[in-house]
């Protein structure tokens, strides 16, 4: 080492220091991405060698009603839960942003549900949603609403999961709060002087200047929501009544680890990755004109 020039030596050390990541990248990311593609062209039960079957797995997907069902479930759930979670997170952040006394206490209260492991949350909410003895329908009954069967109903299981998601809006709230704190107060003050109403200020100042935050939350939320697994697995059992909560990843899990169809599961996973990638790109493109980056 001592015979190297300082420059070469630094480069060598640089590579040495990043070598853990390089190895990890090759073994756990790049390798597997290519392997998934290869496995998706085979029939493979893990035990024994893979058998090349070309596009048969993809052809099977086209005729598989459960594939469409899982796409529908995941898409509908995302449409429901994503806006709901964003709206709730924003509402909480706006409420806390107005010089509230005891801000840290409220923030803690709203954020606490987000730190509970999802398995525990899901188990708790099965009991909350119990149609006869659960607290949810009891509270609804106080408002004269006779609650549905929730997790036992093909129509209500996904809304039930989305409503449970609101309980985890705390992390969205925290990020929105930080976004709000980045906006210079003079903007609102100037608008107030000009006689703008609260509603006008919200739509013409707060929302546009928060758009980078919303965009970030929307993209990460979309990617997360398309990969929903735990809540569906715990609360819907094997996919809920009549597969009403057969999430895409759940179906992939069943194909791969219940029936050991690794080839078909890989085709499903590769397709999901393409869908996620395409949607993300679409969102990024569509948002270009609408996201305001002036403050960054």
């Amino acid at each position: 080492m001592s015979r190297l020039t300082p420059r070469k030596r630094e480069a060598l050390e640089g590579y040495l220091f990043i070598s853990p990541w390089i190895i990890g990248f090759l073994v756990f990311t790049a390798g597997p991405i290519l392997a998934t593609l290869f496995i998706s062209f085979t029939k493979w039960q893990v035990f024994g060698p893979p058998e090349w079957i070309g596009l048969a797995n993809y052809a099977r997907m086209i005729h598989d009603p459960l594939f469409y069902q899982s796409l529908k479930v995941t898409g509908f759930f995302t449409l429901l839960s994503l806006p709901l979670g964003l709206a709730m997170g924003l509402a909480l952040a706006l409420l806390l942003f107005q010089d509230v006394k005891g801000l840290s206490i409220f923030r803690t209260v709203f954020y606490t549900p987000s730190v509970v492991p999802e398995v525990a949350t899901a188990t708790l909410w099965i009991w909350i949603y119990n149609p006869e003895f659960g607290i949810f329908n009891y509270v609804l009954s106080k408002f004269g609403i006779s609650g549905p069967e929730w997790l036992y109903s093909t129509e209500w299981i996904l809304p039930a999961l989305a409503i449970m998601g609101i309980w985890g809006a705390g992390s969205t709230m925290v990020i929105y709060l930080a976004g709000l704190q980045n906006i210079p107060r003079v903007y609102w003050e100037a608008a107030t002087v000009d006689g703008a109403s609260g509603w006008q200020k919200f739509w013409s100042i707060t929302m546009p200047l928060l758009s980078p935050t919303t965009f970030f939350l929307f993209v990460t939320g979309l990617i997360g929501s398309l990969q929903t697994f735990t809540a569906g697995y715990i609360m819907g059992g094997g996919g809920g009544p009549l597969n009403a909560s057969l999430f895409y990843t759940l179906y992939m899990y069943q194909q791969g680890w219940k029936w050991f169809n690794m080839g078909y599961a890989s085709a499903l996973s590769w397709t999901l990755s393409l869908i996620i990638f395409a949607l993300t790109m679409l969102v990024i493109r569509a948002s270009r004109a609408r996201v305001n980056y002036d403050l960054i």
Partner: protein, 273 residues
């Protein structure tokens, strides 16, 4: 007018706070109830008729929770240590060392954050099964020794804020790169390291799909996996189930209350550039 608005605002906040606390209260209350007569009542009782603290003792004796706690802690703490050290090393190199292709490789690091979790799951599983690691804790621990893109990104930002004059003077004194990393950069990045440690704790502690796929025999279960099986066995004993749920949730809650500012800080940096 202003007072009315303020009162309204607090009323809404208090109401929402109650709504957010309700599930916790319901969990605690159910975990202390007596049994079927106490559980299946209408209207539901928030305050139990009598407090059955022994439920917790019973749940502890029903299932070897101690073993699950040990497995979960083992995975969580080793992976925390491993990911901190490896991510910091990689981040330091990207922030301070000069080598050809550095910025291109860093871009690659960032782009791996976009790869969905499920894309790599199957080949990883097959790899670990060929290695004979399925049904051991290794698949959940070992990958953490190779740095995590998001943590590398955060730490790099942090390291770049440290004045480079510090290492110049250390270099003149003859300190090696490893030494500069270990005795200048790591100590100065303490707040970022704590934040990342907490984020890693939360995600490893709560992980479900990893244990579900890799751990098959009960002696290897983690707490989350055990709770799922426990639910399968005692699916109508809601008082026991809620006591068990409480026990699984409690360490995260305690950890949160202790490290609150770091956690909220961490979530904030993860959302804002």
């Amino acid at each position: 007018m202003r007072t009315v608005k303020k009162v309204m605002q607090y009323a809404i906040l208090v109401l929402l706070a109650l709504v957010f606390m309700m599930p916790f209260l319901w969990m605690i209350s159910t975990s202390l109830k007596g049994g079927a007569d106490d559980l299946f009542t209408y209207p539901p009782q928030i305050i139990p008729k009598s407090f059955h603290w022994e439920n917790y003792r019973k749940v502890l004796s029903m299932y070897p929770w101690g073993v699950f706690l040990k497995n979960t802690s083992l995975i969580t703490f080793i992976s925390m240590f491993a990911t901190l050290l490896s991510s910091a090393m990689v981040a330091f190199s990207f922030a301070r060392l000069r080598f050809p292709g550095r910025d291109k490789i860093f871009f690659l690091v960032l782009s791996t954050m976009m790869v969905p979790y499920y894309t790599t799951l199957i080949p990883q599983y097959i790899l670990f099964s060929k290695l004979g690691w399925v049904n051991t804790l290794k698949p959940l621990i070992v990958p953490n020794f190779f740095g995590a893109a998001f943590y590398i990104f955060l730490l790099r930002q942090h390291f770049m804020g440290i004045p480079p004059e510090l290492d110049d003077s250390a270099k003149i004194d003859g300190a090696s790169t490893m030494r500069i990393f270990g005795s200048i950069y790591l100590p100065l990045a303490k707040p970022a390291l704590i934040t990342i440690g907490i984020l890693q704790f939360m995600s490893a502690w709560s992980d479900f799909i990893g244990p579900l796929i890799y751990l098959h025999s009960e002696k290897n279960y983690t707490l989350t996996l055990a709770l799922n099986t426990f639910r399968g066995i005692h699916y109508t004993d809601w008082h026991y189930l809620m006591a068990g749920t409480m026990m699984v949730a409690l360490p995260s809650l305690i950890f949160f209350f202790v490290g609150q500012n770091y956690i909220i800080g961490g979530i904030t940096v993860s959302g804002i550039k």
